[in-house]
């Protein structure tokens, strides 16, 4: 019999596991809505995860770390946008190359700094919200997290309002649906796409920074830091029908998979072998989620189609 404490503990950690996926998926919604498929989210998150950790380790400031994580992601996004929007290299191939490039850069940097020090930081302290935290059960599950968690639940709402209620959002959607018509109406197609790729990268960077600063406190080489969350974020963007609001629920479902695995490891993962066994759970969970939620809405019509003026 599963006790109520275990359920609360899983739900609490599912909220924390949702955050990196949520940031990255909202960013990817923007990228894809503008007609660009960025498959390198996992790579960007890994680079940001490392540089956020290293900056915080050096300066002692979480704020600096997050800024560094976003900055390196912006740089990466700019490079990707140059290759895919300006030069119009195949987005799928470029995305995969940037994914491995990101992991390689992060792993190289990690090995390089290991000669100086092992970067470890204390994860961001929780910001327990007064009054709200004293609600039974819900207070523990929702309102005893660090500040990035609260931000991550406001961001999709702001980004959704921008996408659906403002002229900017209309421009983004039109560029992804019918770039020729948007261009004829005076919208700068490739400028919007550049911006959306960069916005997407910045959010992926924020998500990556959360993994090391808000959750792990350290970096694990070989792609095990982000551990597939970047790929899952792209999935969430697609399965949510490119809707920032629905990303909240979508990310939470996958976050739950990671939380269940983490709970099983801490309760039953006596040996190293069994913890590896439980680490398969989030991915099997993800496959099931794909099967259940596969019927989505139509993708943006110009997704992966580069735009060139005739």
């Amino acid at each position: 019999m599963v006790s109520i404490d275990v359920v609360i503990s899983i739900l609490r950690s599912s909220i924390s596991m949702t955050v990196p996926i949520l940031f990255a998926s909202v960013g990817e919604v923007y990228t894809e809505r503008s007609g660009v498929l960025n498959l390198s989210v996992e790579g960007i998150m890994t680079v940001s995860a490392f540089f956020a950790l290293w900056t915080t380790f050096l300066t002692g400031s979480y704020f600096n770390g997050i800024l560094a994580g976003i900055a390196i992601a912006l740089f990466f996004g700019l490079f990707f946008a140059f290759v895919c929007v300006k030069i119009t290299v195949n987005q799928l191939i470029a995305g995969l190359l940037f994914y491995t490039l990101g992991i390689a850069i992060a792993d190289f940097s990690y090995r390089y700094v290991l000669r100086i020090a092992v970067p470890i930081v204390e994860p961001l302290p929780p910001l327990k919200l007064p009054i709200l935290r004293s609600i039974p059960y819900i207070g523990t599950i929702l309102f005893e997290h660090n500040v990035l968690v609260y931000i991550s639940f406001v961001i999709p709402i702001i980004m959704g309002l921008i996408l659906y209620k403002t002229v900017w959002g209309l421009k983004i959607r039109s560029v992804g649906e019918n770039p020729q018509a948007a261009d004829a109406a005076g919208v700068k197609v490739n400028l919007i796409r550049f911006l959306c790729v960069i916005i997407g990268a910045a959010f992926a960077g924020l998500g990556g920074s959360y993994i090391t600063l808000g959750h792990l406190g350290t970096y694990v080489a070989g792609g095990a830091t982000v551990a597939g969350r970047g790929w899952i974020a792209i999935l969430v963007a697609i399965l949510s029908g490119w809707n920032p609001y629905r990303c909240i629920l979508g990310s939470w479902i996958f976050g739950l998979g990671y939380a269940i695995a983490a709970e099983l490891i801490s309760s039953y993962g006596g040996s190293l072998a069994s913890s590896y066994f439980f680490l398969m759970i989030p991915y099997i969970f993800a496959l099931i989620v794909i099967l259940v939620f596969r019927k989505t809405t139509r993708p943006p019509a110009a997704l992966t189609v580069p735009y060139k003026r005739k």
């Binding site: 195949n90 995969l96 190359l97 491995t100 490039l101 072998a273 596969r294």
Partner: protein, 352 residues
């Protein structure tokens, strides 16, 4: 004819320029990080090509890279983007190990053949679900094959740390395979094993399949325009299934080569991303199996040379991951240069 020659010259220029530009980036990185570019690059060249022994290591590595590249190229021709070569290789290694460890009393020819078939089957097993989800439910294969990579790595991690672990070893690895399953060394006094000939034969076979046979034509038609192909009576589902299964089998075979050479064991994280590098090699060679032969040797030599950079004395030692960065950069820069040269040709033809 002259058009073809000018095309070859142009692509030669594109590749040389791409490699040269990434080399400049590499030198800048080395300088910024305080390494000596001359010393590092000469160590890289020596490590990859310096001695017959080093060349044999590069060739061995290129067998694995080539098979991983084929695992992307063949399915991609039917428009199935298999990015699961990494996981299929782990599964191939696992199944090959499980079967091979039972074959101690067999004649090597039989044992090696059965182990290779097991590896091939392991790769196919790992793409079965993604390819079925693709053809039956139209679920995007990029995500499913990727998810299967993560499952495969953790599966092998679990088995090598638990049920299959060598009880006498401190490391997380299995006991060695029986000698009857070891791939033979084909040039004495080097480490060159039969994996390279196997991979070259398979690359050639893939080329012939794609360019000289009906089924190859149908696979390409499936990828080029599935609706038109179906209207002409091509069995598109069947072709995609075949291309994906054979491709994944190649990746499984790469895993088999890994466990039947070297220390002859299955170990945790034996691949630092060979499967993904296969995609980079495929893109670099423009999805041509023959081009992939050359590209994978080039990449393998860089890779083996990169291993030597780690053992430079003291402060000069460079983490091998720098080579991973470099190898990805080369492809990105080559693709950019290629796109620019096509753009230039388009403008020229428009003017003329």
């Amino acid at each position: 004819m002259s058009y073809r020659i000018s095309q070859i010259i142009e692509s030669f220029l594109v590749y040389s320029f791409g490699v040269f530009a990434s080399l400049i980036v590499l030198v800048i990185i080395l300088l910024v990080l305080g390494y000596s570019p001359l010393m590092s690059l000469s160590a890289l060249l020596h490590g990859g090509f310096g001695t017959a022994y080093n060349i044999s290591q590069s060739l061995n590595q290129s067998a694995i890279f080539l098979l991983c590249a084929l695992a992307f190229i063949l399915p991609a021709k039917s428009r199935f983007y298999n990015i699961g070569a990494e996981g299929q290789m782990y599964l191939g290694a696992l199944i090959a190990f499980l079967v091979g460890s039972q074959l101690g009393n067999f004649h090597p020819a039989v044992a090696i053949t059965l182990t290779a078939l097991a590896g091939f089957a392991g790769g196919m097993l790992w793409i079965a679900v993604p390819v079925l989800m693709k053809v039956k439910l139209q679920i995007n294969e990029i995500f499913t094959t990727m998810i299967f990579n993560f499952i495969a790595i953790n599966l092998v991690n679990w088995l090598t740390a638990g049920p299959l672990k060598d009880p006498y070893s401190y490391h997380l690895q299995t006991p060695p395979l029986p000698p009857s399953t070891w791939l033979p060394v084909i040039v004495s006094s080097t480490e060159l094993n039969a994996g390279i000939s196997l991979s070259l034969v398979l690359a050639l076979a893939t080329y012939i399949l794609l360019e000289k046979t009906i089924i190859g034509l149908e696979i390409k038609a499936t990828g080029f325009n599935p609706r038109a192909a179906r209207a002409l009576g091509v069995k598109t589902t069947f072709n995609m299934l075949i291309a994906a299964l054979i491709g994944a089998g190649f990746a499984g075979l790469a895993g088999m080569i890994v466990v039947t050479t070297g220390s002859h064991i299955l170990t945790q994280n034996f691949s630092p991303g060979y499967g993904y590098l296969g995609i980079a090699i495929a893109a670099l060679s423009n999805f041509n199996p023959l081009g992939a032969m050359i590209a994978s040797f080039f990449y393998a030599a860089l890779w083996v040379g990169g291993m030597h950079l780690q053992f430079l004395p003291g402060k000069a030692a460079i983490p091998v991951q720098l080579i991973y960065v470099f190898e990805n950069l080369i492809v990105i820069i080559v693709l950019v240069v290629k796109a620019l040269s096509e753009e230039r040709r388009r403008i020229l033809s428009w003017l003329a």
